[in-house]
């Protein structure tokens, strides 16, 4: 199928081109001086509006909803009201300092400060909603086919989803959770597809994708916390015994010197921490490497002019394609790893009776 391959190739080139456009925007704003750090951070961080592209000097972006709680209660307004340093009800986007780019207001002393609560519907929030709706539509349409005729084998996309689902179910969930794996399968499957879909959407630089959702620590923190809560809520008494009265010499676990309890407690907390950081760092790194490769083109342009930019763009685009393809793989692997680790943590808190007897 050479035509199809060629169209994929063209698509990837287009994606990289649009990425370069974003970089170009940053370059134009800085007028001949290119701040690669600035460029990268505007791409990987959350923002109040969804920038799509810049044509000439005109930014095309979708304004999103800003919801903040100030001193005088809740405010909700469009992010377009804060464009180009405008103020609205005393709220504006901070230009520098530790709150740079965030909605801030001035307190009575005239100091710049964040509002009490900022639950704005940001780019990442919008991306999560899009991914969620897409996931629900995809899965419900496939489930509907099963309801209609479960005997008929699934074909095409549905068949691929079935294979993926069953491999996660049989190879990840079933072997890692000794007791009642069926009870935890819905959560773990949801986690897997949620991460996988958001990872893939993040790789597409055009509108419905492009948000660095799974490379945002808030997102991974929520997922890790949910696994943490499930692990502890459904932990059996053997699990709690291991934490509060483990099989070690008594002097290591007396109330006067609770060393083991302390270590076990830390061990309890490191699990969600590891889950949070692993997914976040992997996805962030993938985005950053592609952005750096694209940024190189502009750095060389400033240093050596058009010739340098053309020369490095060949290398940058080749590596950029390679990195994006690698990120497709990483998207799957990280979703899979997160699911495996969640399953292992839940499974460890629910040991089999036999294993407990052996350790006694």
């Amino acid at each position: 199928m050479p035509l199809k391959n060629r169209s994929y190739f063209a698509l990837i080139l287009l994606l990289i081109f649009t990425m370069s456009m974003g970089a170009l925007r940053a370059e134009e704003q800085e007028k001949k001086s290119f701040d690669i750090k600035e460029m990268i951070f505007t791409h990987v961080l959350d923002s109040y509006e969804w920038h799509i592209m810049t044509i000439g000097k005109k930014n095309i972006s979708i304004p999103l909803l800003i919801i903040v709680k100030g001193e005088d209660g809740w405010h909700a307004f469009s992010s377009s009201k804060l464009r180009d340093g405008q103020q609205y009800n005393g709220f504006y986007l901070s230009k520098e300092g530790k709150n740079k780019g965030k909605v801030v207001t001035k307190n009575q002393a005239g100091e710049e400060m964040r509002p009490k609560l900022d639950i704005s519907f940001t780019k990442n929030a919008a991306s999560i909603i899009i991914a969620s709706i897409a996931l629900i539509i995809i899965m419900l349409s496939i489930a509907a086919q099963y309801k209609k005729d479960p005997i008929r084998p699934m074909k095409g996309f549905g068949g691929a989803i079935e294979q993926l689902t069953m491999s996660v179910y049989n190879d990840v969930i079933k072997p890692n959770i000794p007791n009642d794996y069926q009870k935890f399968a819905p959560y773990l499957l949801t986690v897997f597809y949620f991460i996988f879909l958001n990872n893939l959407l993040g790789l597409i630089p055009l509108f419905p994708g492009g948000a660095n959702v799974t490379g945002n620590i808030a997102v991974t923190l929520i997922l890790a916390l949910l696994t943490f809560i499930i692990t502890n809520v459904f932990g059996k008494k053997e699990y709690w015994k291991e934490i509060f009265w483990p099989d070690v010499p008594v002097f290591l676990k007396t109330p006067l010197f609770p060393l083991m309890q302390f270590i076990e407690f830390i061990g309890m907390l490191t699990k969600p921490f590891a889950l949070t950081i692993r997914l976040f760092a992997n996805m962030l790194a993938g985005h950053m490497i592609v952005l750096v490769l694209m940024g190189l083109i502009f750095i060389f342009y400033i240093m050596m002019g058009v010739g340098g930019a053309l020369g490095i763009s060949v290398i940058s685009i080749a590596f950029g394609i390679f990195m994006l393809l690698l990120d497709v793989l990483v998207s799957f692997i990280q979703a899979y790893v997160f699911t495996i680790l969640s399953a292992i943590f839940i499974g460890m808190a629910r040991p089999e009776e036999r294993q407990v007897q052996k350790s006694n």
């Binding site: 959350d46 940001t122 489930a143 997102v219």
Partner: protein, 164 residues
């Protein structure tokens, strides 16, 4: 650094959609898909068992039909042998009968021929007697013209009769 501090807003916007997705998929999607696959696997297992049973059944039917065919073949051979035997017997009997008939016919033919022969001989004799009488008459008519010869003749005849 901003990268490592989770935003409260995004925590909220992550938690709510995720819980909604989890609720919807856990209620409507995963059970349907997992049960559907299980149902299909069960159906495949049952089909395999049924197929094996059908195969066994088929083998048994084939063995039965083979036995029936074998039996028929044996019976056919027996019938053929019987037929050959009775054919031989019939031929034998027929041959015997035919032989007898033939001898009978030959015997009667021979008798007939003998009768005919005797008849013919008798007839020939009669012809010959008549002929000899005629000849004798002619001879006698010639020789008995003279008296003496007539007398001689009579004498000789008388002698012969006497002698006889």
């Amino acid at each position: 650094m901003e990268l490592f501090t989770p935003e409260v807003g995004l925590l909220f916007w992550m938690l709510i959609p995720f819980l909604v997705v989890f609720y919807v998929l856990a209620k409507y999607a995963w059970p349907a898909i997992l049960k559907g696959v299980e149902k299909r696997n069960q159906f495949i297992d049952e089909s395999l068992i049924a197929a094996r049973q059908a195969k066994d059944e088929l083998a048994r039917v084939k063995a039965d039909s083979d036995a029936i065919l074998e039996q028929a073949r044996i019976e056919q051979a027996a019938i053929l042998a019987e037929a050959a035997k009775s054919r031989d017997k019939i031929l034998e009997v027929a041959k015997d009968k035919a032989g007898e008939e033939a001898t009978k016919i030959i015997a009667s033919a021979r008798e007939q021929i003998n009768l005919e022969k005797e008849d013919a001989i008798r007839q020939i004799r009669r012809e010959v007697a008549i002929l000899s009488v005629d000849i004798a008459e002619k001879v006698l008519r010639d020789n008995l013209n003279e008296k003496e010869s007539q007398m001689n003749m009579i004498d000789r005849l008388l002698d012969e009769i006497n002698l006889g």
